[in-house]
């Protein structure tokens, strides 16, 4: 193990403190947008001094990158948990994951507002884009896996290409989420559209 992973001794609280600051940052991004937050705002939100923030992050960009990784990890954790949690059909798992992309409650709404902010920033920040893309790729693979499982279980016909189907589902949910986020359509309608699409995918030809 490297020195960064120790749980006792010097620097033990380091990562925890970074997460705490990142959470303050993410909350402010949700409230005021990514570009409206200053390091001083973050410091105030985390109830630490500006110097403390600077101690834990060498630059603002580094802080942003860490925060993106942090919230991405939260998402993948949720997905992982949803996968390992048995007793659910592939379709239910699939729906649960895709529903995370639609702002149906305050948590999802906040997360998706933050994600949208990072997406926009990624268009002019290659490093950020790399990390964001990695998250997308990971989620895509999970969707492919689930569709394959459903095909193996006979819940989805062997016809459709899992890659294509995953890309379609992913994009559909993402688009629906964006639309709901800006007030174009309700979460209920969005989920209905999503379910309709799942119905078609899971309609095993007689």
């Amino acid at each position: 193990m490297g020195k960064d992973s120790r749980t006792r001794g010097l620097g033990a609280r380091h990562e925890e403190r970074r997460r705490q600051i990142a959470e303050a940052l993410l909350a402010m991004i949700d409230l005021h947008g990514l570009d409206a937050v200053s390091l001083r705002d973050v410091a105030a939100g985390a109830e630490v001094s500006l110097g403390a923030v600077q101690h834990y992050f060498r630059s603002k960009d580094e802080m942003l990158l860490f925060a993106l990784d942090y919230i991405s990890e939260q998402g993948t954790d949720r997905v992982r948990r949803s996968l390992s949690l048995g007793g659910q059909s592939p379709r239910a798992v699939l729906r649960g994951i895709l529903a995370e992309l639609v702002p149906g409650d305050d948590r999802r709404r906040a997360e998706l507002r933050i994600a949208t902010a990072f997406t926009a920033r990624s268009l002019v920040n290659p490093k950020l884009a790399d990390h964001l893309r990695a998250g997308y790729a990971a989620l895509h693979e999970v969707l492919v896996l689930l569709i394959r499982q459903a095909q193996d279980a006979g819940e989805v016909s062997a016809g459709p290409d899992p890659e294509r189907a995953a890309a379609a589902l992913f994009a559909l949910a993402e688009g629906l989420g964006t639309h709901v986020l800006i007030g174009h359509g309700s979460p209920e309608t969005a989920l209905a559209v999503l379910d309709e699409h799942l119905d078609r995918l899971f309609a095993t030809a007689p």
Copy 2:
């Protein structure tokens, strides 16, 4: 007609000048993102002085709002032209419009980068959100209309609800566009997924 629409006399060039400045703004948003552009940058880009920009826009927010309306209008114009242009099947028209949401060339890419920037900003700027939402609603209505036409022409079965089908197509194209924009998937694959979806919609049951 009000005084704002005169084409001769005092203030005739007013709107034209505002558009010119807005175009400089939009170009910079594409290049550096919405929040990275300052009024001085815009002035330099439009090859006018800062005072000139201030003369035509009372504040930065007003300029942003105008620019959003301006680029939205360009989009609706393109849609209108595509609708009035005869000789195309409803499906072809539909595909043409939806393909505008996928960054398949430099123009589309620039427009969608700008749109993404405005979307993110809209999350913390209600006024901007109102205008953005209006554009979304307008495009949605066009899609509904086209699907209805296709149903009337027998190209699409009477089964699916046009509202739902439009919402799905819209969200799918939007999501695909976003994914391509950040480098998650190619425009070719995105269009293939879109066509697949159109195939299903236009598959009249035998």
